[in-house]
């Protein structure tokens, strides 16, 4: 649908684009982290692109990525970047959409913030920081948004157990369920 956006991206920023793909009608451009801000600024301001409307920003943790029916080379392993950041953009005038993605290694999970270009990403990047622990350089107000400050860890990472509990207030007055307590010890 918006293949021309990907073609234009490759033509003007060939060195900054890792590769592009189309999945089920969604156009995706993988952008190198160091040139992300330049590409994003161009996408927003170029009259033929004019991506003025932000849609969403989120991350994917590829730690458990072993898809069924897909060759082993595409599965995640330690040599590949663990996180990927995705920003979906929309153009109010041209009606096209594109998703820009950025691969982030596990031990250096940080990337430039796009909240300066699109204010809506301010909260969405805060949410991503809250849930995945990805740091956004240049974000004006990077703090947790859903969880409380004392929370340890990042709950949407694949290595965060679903059953783990972190109550803010300890309730010693409540009766202890021995099965649950043993379960917690085990974890």
């Amino acid at each position: 649908m918006s293949q021309k956006v990907l073609d234009a991206l490759k033509a003007t920023h060939g060195g900054a684009i890792d590769h592009t793909e189309s999945q089920l009608g969604d156009e995706i451009a993988w952008v190198k982290r160091e040139s992300l801000l330049a590409v994003a600024t161009w996408l927003k301001n170029d009259p033929a692109m004019l991506f003025d409307a932000p849609v969403f920003a989120t991350a994917i943790d590829r730690l458990d990525w072993r898809p069924v029916g897909v060759p082993l080379v595409q599965h995640w392993n330690e040599t590949k970047p663990r996180f990927e950041m995705a920003w979906q953009l929309r153009s109010q005038k041209h009606r096209h959409r594109v998703r820009i993605k950025c691969a982030l290694p596990e031990h250096d999970a940080r990337c430039p913030s796009l909240s300066g270009l699109w204010p809506a990403f301010n909260w969405q990047e805060r949410e991503t920081f809250d849930m995945y622990g990805i740091h956004f350089d240049g974000h004006p107000d990077l703090r947790r948004i859903y969880l409380y400050e004392e929370f340890v860890g990042y709950p949407l990472r694949k290595d965060y157990p679903k059953e783990k509990r972190q109550p803010l207030v300890r309730r010693d007055d409540l009766p202890i369920n021995p099965i649950k307590a043993a379960d917690r010890e085990h974890k």
Binding site: Q23, L24, G25, D26, D52, A53, P54, V55, F56, T58, I60, D61, D64, W65, R66, P67, V68, G69, V70, A86, Q88, Q92, R95, R99, W118, P119, A120, N122, W123, Q124, E127, M131, I145, Y146, L147, P155, L156, K162
Partner: protein
């Protein structure tokens, strides 16, 4: 005795035994310090639970730090551990005022991943549009009713909630549950509409139209209502786009964007309806746009009742459709298929997709990554309430504390959807 005390002594009392003429200009001013006030998390005018730390200069808001998260129920984490069908009850609890629309959004996201988008039976598509538009009406009725109540028009709240209850009862007949329907399934809907549904819906729509006329008479020319709404919380067209506003809020600011028209899905291209767009982007325009959308939804529903075809309500595809109950109990193959469906879930091929529909508050999207198993690898919901709430600070700054109430009412922040 207070009654006999003359005005001069009163002044002395108030001003610390100084006469007003004796004060310097600086002393006569109120203390200029800014004050911090907590509004919420539990506050009668905060829909759901949200906390705003207001910094006020007198009555004027200088800064408002909006803090959501009190209703966070780990939608995404829970979805990653549930089968695709088990996610439907979670989506019910996102926007709990229009659960059907969330159901439809999730079903369409999974169908896009499976390549089923074009093969859904037409009757199922029509049923989805019908229940979706009913949900849009309940969403708008709640939003307008609650906002009007907060501004003192309690009758409007009662009228609209009465109307909403008729529709909830109707949806209860359709799905079996008043609020958390879980009615839509991947590939269709769970069961057909009940006998006589069309007539009952037509009757209710006529009644609701009467209620809308009544409420318009109560509000549209009401001086108190207009004074509290007009010019309050305005947002420009450019700001509305850049901050990600969609739905009635963006349309009230002049952004002509409705997913049903701009990226048509389902059977909307076959239906005739208008998208109301206003210009000033203040609370009054948001109210007017929502009122007009109510009428347009009624118009869509009337056409659907006329046009709905007969036929299947579930796609004939063994990957997603459960076998008929008769076969499940009588043949081993169907029994196994049923078991695999329920326990392993629907197998969705690896890939990722973003699907969006026009929800009650605007573009409601699901960004799903599948890894070929029966459970989503990632399920992200692009909730309009969350994006709209992030503009709240911009909207309330410079207004009075009392204006937070109509601004918040018209943002229509739904706690479940915003906090996920």
């Amino acid at each position: 005795m207070a009654a006999t005390r003359d005005i001069t002594s009163l002044k002395q009392l108030v001003l610390g035994r100084k006469d007003v003429q004796d004060l310097t200009d600086e002393e006569a001013e109120l203390p200029p310090d800014l004050m911090t006030i907590n509004m919420g998390p539990s506050h009668p005018a905060m829909h759901g639970t949200v906390r705003i730390v207001l910094t006020v200069d007198g009555e004027k808001i200088v800064k408002g730090d909006v803090q959501p998260g009190y209703l966070h129920r780990c939608f995404e984490k829970e979805s990653e551990h549930a089968t695709y069908t088990q996610v439907f009850p979670y989506t019910d609890r996102l926007n709990y005022v229009s659960p059907m629309l969330n159901n439809v959004g999730w079903a369409m996201a999974v169908e896009k991943l499976m390549g089923l988008t074009t093969s859904i039976p037409r009757r199922a598509e029509y049923i989805r549009v019908i229940v979706g538009e009913i949900s849009r009406i309940t969403d708008h009725l709640t939003c307008i009713g609650a906002s009007a109540m907060e501004l003192g028009a309690f009758s409007v709240f009662l009228f609209f909630l009465k109307a909403r209850e008729w529709l909830y009862e109707l949806l209860e007949k359709v799905s079996g549950a008043r609020l958390t329907h879980s009615y839509v399934r991947i590939g269709g809907v769970v069961k057909d509409l009940p006998e006589g549904f069309g007539d009952e819906l037509s009757y209710n729509l006529d009644q609701i139209e009467k209620v809308i006329v009544e409420v318009e008479g109560l509000l549209n020319a009401n001086k108190i209502f207009r004074d509290r709404m007009a010019g309050i919380g305005a947002i420009s067209k450019e700001d509305a786009i850049a901050t990600g506003c969609v739905g009635p809020i963006a349309r009230s600011a002049g952004v002509d964007y409705d997913v049903r028209k701009d990226y048509p899905y389902s059977v909307y291209p076959e239906l005739e309806f208008d998208v109301p767009v206003a210009s000033t982007g203040d609370c009054l325009d948001r109210y007017l746009v929502r009122m007009e959308e109510l009428k347009q939804s009624i118009r869509i529903l009337r056409q659907c009742i006329q046009q709905i075809p007969g036929g299947a309500i579930m796609v004939d595809d063994p990957r997603v459709a459960l076998p008929p109950k008769r076969d499940t109990y009588n043949t081993i193959e169907s029994m196994i298929r049923h078991f695999k469906h329920i326990v392993d879930g629907i197998k969705v091929p690896a890939g990722e997709a973003y699907t969006f529909i026009e929800g009650g508050n605007g573009e409601l999207g699901f960004y799903v990554a599948a890894d070929g198993t029966g459970r989503p690898y990632k399920a992200y919901v692009r909730s309009p309430s969350f994006v709209h709430l992030s503009t709240a600070e911009r909207l309330i700054t410079g207004h009075f504390i009392a204006d937070v109430v109509p601004i918040f009412g018209m943002i229509n922040m739904i706690g479940g959807e915003c906090d996920k």
